[in-house]
Symmetry: C2
Subunit: 202 residues, 2 copies
């Protein structure tokens, strides 16, 4: 294939940038990790920076592939249990998808060096899931599942702590099981605080 190598370079570059940073990545090691020569890289990309920009492109596209359009919004939960289930499902993806993990790691390290990385960082760690849950919470309030409140404020209060624990898990993967439980406990506590008190089962 024509772009097979080009794609492989990109994937490997993501790994190397994530693990060693932009400065810490050298093209020889990157190439030899693919079984080719550094010179062969220049057949596909004109410079190190062009590879970097292509990696950012890929990360942006990968994100919008999942959340980019309204029809990709998850179905609005019909109950608090469903909300919890949805949360844990999204969490499981975000904590185990290799590309997403590498993206987070890369962004944290390079957010101050590159403007596009900076914006993507805010999207990944803050505004992305907040926006989704703002929509979800608003709908759940309409349906009377959650108390009436400011949906955006609640979405922020819900997603930011989860995001903090996901980052902790990136940092200390050996604590994954424990952290997952922590997140679930937090989610339960949050939902319990803001659910409409039609019935009280807990």
């Amino acid at each position: 294939m024509e772009n097979s190598t080009k794609t492989r370079i990109l994937e490997q570059a993501l790994v190397s940038f994530a693990e060693n940073g932009y400065k810490g990545t050298n093209l020889r090691d990157l190439a030899s990790g693919l079984g080719i020569t550094k010179s062969a890289l220049y057949r596909h990309y004109d410079s190190k920076e062009e590879i970097w920009n292509a990696v950012i492109d890929m990360m942006e596209e990968y994100y919008s592939m999942r959340f980019g359009s309204p029809e990709k919004m998850p179905a609005v939960p019909e109950s608090c249990d469903e909300l919890l289930a949805l949360t844990m499902k999204m969490l499981h993806f975000t904590m185990h998808d290799r590309k997403v993990i590498l993206t987070r790691r890369l962004l944290l390290a390079e957010q101050f060096r590159d403007e596009r990385a900076r914006k993507l960082t805010t999207l990944h760690f803050l505004t992305g899931t907040k926006q989704i849950f703002t929509e979800i919470f608003a709908r759940m309030m309409e349906k009377g599942i959650l108390k009436n409140d400011d949906p955006e404020m609640l979405a922020f209060a819900y997603t930011a702590p989860v995001s903090a624990l996901v980052q902790l898990c990136d940092r200390e993967p050996e604590r994954e099981a424990e952290i997952t439980l922590q997140i679930e406990a937090f989610a339960r506590h949050f939902i319990n605080t803001y659910k409409a008190k039609d019935d009280d089962n807990d």
Copy 2:
């Protein structure tokens, strides 16, 4: 003074490591930024890595200087207003103290490369303030200012979103005013949710 230059090197190294990363820092520029030669650095430190470790030492010490011992705990607020005031006061420090800002920036970039940086990262962004507010909330619950609840869970739910917005402010300092208002709004909302409902003055 004997260690004056040594200290100046350390401060400059913190700046350079924070702005350019470990790999991106070179000793020539670091030295010339101090008005001395690279060789003079070697009079005080044996290697680049030794400078790095000294910087970590300094960050650790700076942190424990502020929060290290129980007697440095802030006074427990006597009311919800005082809690808000304390929060905004701590926030103002953490958002404007130059050394703390640089420390956060450095940690985010280097947390995956250095074990001590990793631990300090968790302390700075997660467990540090959480522990403090766990204590504060527990006391405020005893006093009947806050509803009875899990103080640790509440501390986590309170500090994690604030920490996320502080990081946002590091990333986009031009939005400081707006972000500060966001934090205050969040704090008010949080306090309003968990305050004991003796009186209701909104």
